[in-house]
Amino acid sequence: MTAAVLAAAAFAAPVNAQGDLLVAPTRVILDGSRGTEVILSNIGSEEATYRIGLELRRMEENGRLVPVEKAEANATEEAALGMIRYAPRRITLPPGQPQAVRLAARPGADLPDGEYRVHMSFKAIPKPRSVTEQQTQAQGVSIQLIPIYGVTIPIIVRHGRLEAQVAINQPKIVAGENGPELAVTMSRAGDSSVYGELRITKPGLDDPIALLRGVAIYPEIGTRELRIQLTEQQAASITGQLRFEYREMPEAGGGLIAAVDAFVG
């Protein structure tokens, strides 16, 4: 093309937020026999259609959940995908309307003991746009990008007697990109995942200096690296003798999983 393409009138795409959603609970642990429900609610202002699917994610040592194609699934992931039953798989909801998605796990009789996990995804399907919206100006290049956005939550099946041990080691202050960071390494051993909150307290202070909640360490990793961005105030007080506690979430009882007293200089 040689002639210059003239600018189209700025194509201001209004956000109609088609697909805003609420999901509860945020993680599901199934023990094989009883099923449960996850609630999906349309909190947008328009009717929306949501697709519910099962996907695979693997955790990296920094806590990141990386998508895994089903073709690349290992034996444990294959088994996990095969044992979860759920319905419905597609839901159209008017604004403000919730609906339950029922799910259950049917582990095979000869399944080895272990922890099996899939991630249930809830994603809005964009509406086909009307012809009038697709009519374009005679000249110019304009761009229309529609985000398809959604969430995934872990669905965990524990089969058999499983255990895990955690140790907290090597807390230290490191220089991060945006100032000081507290680096903590946690080691996990055993065949189960752990989930909880890391509280960093200082003797004599009531409130924790730093608190990281919802910290999961899944079976595919033996080490989880945590980096906590510190405010200057936190950095100033996070020296000397500190106590690091990794506890179950309060709603799960708050039991102590691992603790260490460390001197941070």
Binding site: V15, V23, T136, P154, G214
Partner: protein, 182 residues
């Protein structure tokens, strides 16, 4: 704002705490129905990804960063109009870090006349190098840490590559944004 939902055993009852009216069809829970409070996860899209308008006379790239700052320096592309980085809000567990997954490859924007068999570059614009405002401290990968009240937000930008042969018209594509709870 609470991020919990309370369900009666007889049906789903949602409180207006989440800015929603009570569910229209909620049954009346009996007095002895057990209720449980569940953590909820909310994702909303508050701004579209918009590169504004372009006058194209040759090849080049246009970069929109997550702070909505546009880099449009190639002489054959003149940018105008209002731009916006895609913006999302997340509500969930306080003080929790949440993975964000953006497209890792290239998203092809297509012209209405695009035909897989015959079209070349004139009907396609490439969008890639998605970037996020919030990243993991060590890896730099997209991650949002919810604050003490369970709120978080992030924005997304990207890079479009134009080869100069584009036909006039509206180029369209969808791109995936996924918020992963652990």
């Amino acid at each position: 704002m609470t991020k919990t939902l309370r369900f009666g055993a007889a049906g789903i009852t949602m409180f207006a705490a989440l800015g929603m009216g009570t569910a229209a069809h909620a049954d009346t829970a009996t007095a002895d129905a057990s209720a449980e409070v569940l953590d909820a996860l909310v994702l909303t899209n508050t701004a579209a990804l918009d590169f504004g308008a372009m006058v194209v006379s040759g090849a080049g790239t246009v970069v929109l960063d997550p702070a909505n700052s546009l880099t449009c320096t190639d002489p054959d592309i003149v940018c105008s109009g209002t731009t916006s980085a895609a913006a999302f809000t997340v509500e969930g567990t306080a003080n929790k870090a949440v993975t964000i997954n953006l497209p890792t490859g290239t998203v092809n924007l297509r012209h209405p006349n695009y035909n897989a068999a015959t079209s070349a570059g004139e009907h396609t614009i490439e969008l890639d190098t998605f970037t996020s405002s919030d990243n993991n401290a060590t890896s730099g990968d997209p991650e949002v840490t919810l604050d003490g009240t369970g709120d978080g937000s992030f924005t997304v930008g990207g890079t479009i590559t134009i080869d100069g042969s584009e036909e006039a018209g509206l180029f369209e594509a969808t791109f995936d944004v996924s918020v992963e709870y652990s």
